[in-house]
Amino acid sequence: MKIIVGVKRVLDYNVKARVKADKSGIELANVKMSMNPFDEIAVEEALRVKEAGHADEVIAVSIGSSQSQETIRTALAMGADRGILIETDELLEPLAIAKLFKHVVEKEEPGLVILGKQAIDDDANQTGQMLSALTGMSQATFASKVEFDGDHLKVTREVDAGLESIKVKLPSIVTTDLRLNEPRYAKLPNIMKAKKKPLETIPVADTGVDISSGLSVVEVNDPPKREAGIIVNSVAELVDKLRNEAKVI
């Protein structure tokens, strides 16, 4: 069985996003970029599934600019077997991304696709669900545990009231939540080895997939700034302020 994992190049999670002066988006020139943290968890899970003997190949797929090759190389250094980059300089909406993943799924016929539940740039949380809807593969989002059971998966999901478990028939789309695993660090020899692993680049136009979007960004603004308040000196003063000034207790 093949596993496909999605890896997205995003602004590093430790870097504060700054809105461009012309309000067209976020400043991404000369800032540190990294793999979306939820995708690191996806890569790790795919590798563990393979190491447990349930899969024989892990393919890391990214959709983005040529620099996304670095993100794929990171996945290869962690242990993925090969990479596919669908190259485009456009910022695509989740619907277009899901259609492009469907294109790859039809070609590679994986038994399992593992994606991050959301990317920390647009925070959309859509691609996995859309891919499931478009391909008919079963859906298990926000996974905190994935267990194999014959031709099914039992997936424990993080939901608002706690945990829920569902059983899905393979082939499946799983999206990762934070507690699924702790991703490994790539070791230096593996980083060297990753440079020799196959990485296929496909221009987005060659896929024939319609990537047009009905959604456009009018402008991007800073959020209203919250001013720091005052430092109180004691618990008694705090309780007094909350009762008599803020009147919230």
Partner: protein, 312 residues
């Protein structure tokens, strides 16, 4: 123009999240219809019909809708989507599971987590953990939207007189089945709709120490939350997590105890009306957003706070 909303309900009651979605729908203008899916949900439909601003309630009663499986709910929404200009979901774990499927099946973009309605096609949504707000405009024939419930007041649950109409269930998937759930049994208010939230971070040191927060929450009728660091460390279960990838809360009072204030945590609570921070590190970023800060060891401050509240 008309809007269809997928209703969330449990134990016969409509979840407060749905009432906020109704308010967002009212801001769009046009008729507001609700879709109730569940097993034996005549009572829920009756309650839905009383929500102010709603003109029609569609009810799909089927045993399979007892669990909120995305395949089944998205198929049902699609089956009854004809004629609607907008289809709205709460941006909850359940809503996020279904909304993108409906968008994809209609071949339109999904619009996640809107916090403002500018017009019937233009919306504001946070990106980058709320460090920026994107105004987006949709040219799609149907707008499929997730609504951040803390950004819209709850619609009145009484006063409406909508008609109730039974509708056909859609095909039920044989690819997925519900196995079970482990839900927290708390008599505290629900985190995302509580008026006061008391949250703990890594500074709490372990799960047992959260009993100090439970004690204070009890006295304030508050919900208890946590930072990602506290959840990752195993102090408390995942449903406590407030932040970019956990729950978004906006209570009247948010009390952050032993929480440093990472960007991803602020994303989940910075719209709270009053923020209080208790932290022994005076450099902690949480103080930059706090209305009242107390630089103190939480193990001294919490017992004192508990006593002060008891004396009320």
């Amino acid at each position: 123009m008309s809007t269809l909303i997928l209703v969330e309900h449990e134990d016969g009651d409509i979840r407060p999240a749905t009432l906020s979605v109704v308010t967002a729908a009212t801001a769009l203008g046009g008729d507001v219809h609700l879709l109730v899916a569940g097993n034996d949900v005549a009572g829920v439909a009756e309650k839905a019909a009383k929500i102010a601003g709603v003109s029609k309630v569609l009810v799909a009663d089927h045993a399979a809708y007892a669990s909120e499986l995305a395949e089944n709910l998205s198929a049902l929404v699609i089956k009854h989507a004809d004629g609607y200009s907008h289809i709205l979901f709460a941006a909850t774990a359940a809503g996020k599971n279904v909304m993108p499927r409906v968008a994809a099946l209609l071949n339109v973009s999904g619009i996640s987590d809107i916090i403002e309605v500018n017009s019937d096609d233009t919306f504001v949504r946070p990106i980058y953990a709320g460090n920026a707000l994107a105004t987006v405009k949709s040219a799609d024939a149907v707008k499929v939207i997730g609504v951040r419930t803390t950004s819209f007041d709850a619609a009145a649950s009484e006063g409406g007189t909508a008609s109730v109409e039974s509708v056909e269930p859609a095909d039920i998937s044989d690819q997925v089945s519900f196995v079970g759930q482990e839900l927290s049994n708390s008599d505290r208010p629900e985190l995302t709709s509580a008026g006061i939230v008391v949250s703990g971070g890594r500074g709490m040191q372990n799960g047992e120490n959260f009993s100090m927060l439970d004690d204070i929450a009890g006295k304030l009728n508050a919900a208890v939350g946590a930072s990602r660091a506290a959840v990752d460390a195993g102090f408390v279960p995942n449903e406590y997590q407030v932040g970019q990838t956990g729950k978004v809360v906006a209570p009247d009072l948010y009390l952050a105890v032993g929480i440093s204030g990472a960007i991803q945590h602020l994303a989940g609570m910075k719209d709270s009306k009053i923020i209080v921070a208790i932290n022994k590190d005076e450099e902690a970023p949480i103080f930059q957003v706090a209305d009242y800060g107390l630089v103190a060891d939480l193990f001294d401050a919490l017992p004192e706070l508990s006593e002060a509240l008891a004396g009320a």
